[in-house]
Symmetry: none
Amino acid sequence: MARQAGSAGEKTAAAIREQSLRLFAQHGYDAVSMRMIAHAVGVQPGALYQYFPTKQQILMTLMREHMEELLASFKAQGIESEPPAAALEHFARFHIRYHLTRADEVFISYMELRALEPAGFQEVESLRKTYETELKAILVRGSEQGIFRIEDSHVSAMAIIAMLTGVNTWYRSGGRLSEKKIEEIYAEMVLRSVGCVD
Amino acid sequence: MARQAGSAGEKTAAAIREQSLRLFAQHGYDAVSMRMIAHAVGVQPGALYQYFPTKQQILMTLMREHMEELLASFKAQGIESEPPAAALEHFARFHIRYHLTRADEVFISYMELRALEPAGFQEVESLRKTYETELKAILVRGSEQGIFRIEDSHVSAMAIIAMLTGVNTWYRSGGRLSEKKIEEIYAEMVLRSVGCVD
Amino acid sequence: MARQAGSAGEKTAAAIREQSLRLFAQHGYDAVSMRMIAHAVGVQPGALYQYFPTKQQILMTLMREHMEELLASFKAQGIESEPPAAALEHFARFHIRYHLTRADEVFISYMELRALEPAGFQEVESLRKTYETELKAILVRGSEQGIFRIEDSHVSAMAIIAMLTGVNTWYRSGGRLSEKKIEEIYAEMVLRSVGCVD
Amino acid sequence: MARQAGSAGEKTAAAIREQSLRLFAQHGYDAVSMRMIAHAVGVQPGALYQYFPTKQQILMTLMREHMEELLASFKAQGIESEPPAAALEHFARFHIRYHLTRADEVFISYMELRALEPAGFQEVESLRKTYETELKAILVRGSEQGIFRIEDSHVSAMAIIAMLTGVNTWYRSGGRLSEKKIEEIYAEMVLRSVGCVD
DNA sequence: TATGAATGAGATTTCATTCAT
DNA sequence: TATGAATGAAATCTCATTCAT
């Protein structure tokens, strides 16, 4: 069949991103074949190579774009200029919200790191560390001002991020608790965990 | 003459478990082939089928045995009969310790759940829920006794487990902090997170 | 306004010939893809089909044109009317010169014969035989006149052509010996090989 | 279907060599697929990989073994200790004989050099140069003893080898002339070409 | 208990070619 | 005259698994 009128290319490119994201999140990078992606998109496998040179590049693109958007989104919050307690609460709420609305992107960015080739791994790791560093900066500020009581800012940052990110492993929207409520509970636990009682 | 304890077969079986565990943790279930396992064990691929009927069964065995050991280990702690605060601290320390000494088992039990076929998934999920329920029971007890201040025991349990389990994503033994210290920091953060200040 | 001589189309057609020739000579017909040719020409693969209906036709065109030019060039030498010894020397020198200036054309005409489909193969083979027959005619004339001492004109012709054509497998211009010198050495060896001593 | 009794492996390995050789010679390395080889051998494509890790390695093995056998065969002739004229005649006859009995091996070793990856190319080239050097040594000896009249031993060697090797492009056994006769004609032409008249 | 040989399916990727625009 | 998008077939190679020995 020949191509349709209109900008078929843009639609196809977007569809490849969407379907790859969904399939990688559901089955894992290695368990998803180019055939599966092509079938989900509605093209022959060969057509994918007009848009991405390799399967690895599809994954890499999804991850890089996710991390860049996460960082841009975070920067847009202006959290850095807030006082420590407000900043930490804001960070927790932002992180939870981001997770709950971009479940697939977040999921593959944590789960499929090992599927990346070394160069790509380094790049994504570096973006992730940039994000983690933002949290650490908040913790250090709060600690220096005597607002937080923490032993080690690195350990605390890791613990907090793991706690927050974990929401995706169990929360399904439409459940017993609203997303707002989840945000609130996690934010409170985070603040308390660093000795900041309300 | 009697057969030695630890016949060739037993050694091979153990080696398959060890090497599969290591390889699955390192590369992911789908990225590991039976050939890779066989090569690591030092046999031909066909030999693996003397011990496991399918690759899926290797994964399943590793996961089931890990979960069963985790539960048995936990039961042996006698945490259930301790008062809530002590129990929670004890749980946190136990969980961290278990993670830091069984990194591979823990890792694949979290990461490769989706690689399981439905029946196996159900079985492992059920074991995991049993473990999570132990934590929830502690939280409920503490909450009822007014020792913990939590909004929702399920959410808190999920958050705590995610925080604790996350230690594996970054901690490498021989680092800046001892395992004991890590235990201590996490235990304190957990207690605080449920409003239990020391 | 009138179109310029050498329209875009003519330039493209010429570029396809040149690049195909170069690539076929370098990598072999089967190892060269239409994409490679298109890329070398600076167009998209589809554009090639404005000038040649198939990849096979590109090869066929290159070969046919080469053989026709070789024959025309040879005819223009007027060798047929020369006495046998002069004719043979002239043939040898012409053949060497032609090889050394059209390395790629000559190369693919010998190497890629088997890549041709039957009909094309027959056509090129027939042109080649016409050329070989010219040499054989010289040998027969010289033999009949007692100037050459050969056992079998076909074998001698094949041997001489192989010897001369072989120059391309090793000679690179700008080397130790000039092209003129090469011509001279080969011409002498050819004459001697048929018992025609100077 | 399961495997037959007997050493199926050795038979298969030999069959892969034979069929690859035949097919590469007939169609060219790039035009032959692993499917084609497998089909000719009577196995599934995957089975080939029990014997050769890559298609390239099949070609490389065929070429290396051919060159090594050629050199060993040549050494066994003891040509080096013969006087120049006898040595050159002997070389020519040996080369022709070898060509006429190993047409496919010889053919691919000349035609498919460019299909080799750099490392393999170097290896085969080096073996080929060793062989060529043997001929050059004969020419130099004869030249120094005033028996041959040659301008340049390298050019002469190249010319002679090309002439001799060319026999394969046209001779088919069972034709008008016996192999012995061919040997004789070529040997005489070679001797004459270096000014050594009988 | 293990091997060596093989299968049939499927992996990623590339191919020549087509055709609406 | 050329492009951008796509196809359907085929490329090399790897996979889990089987089974006679």
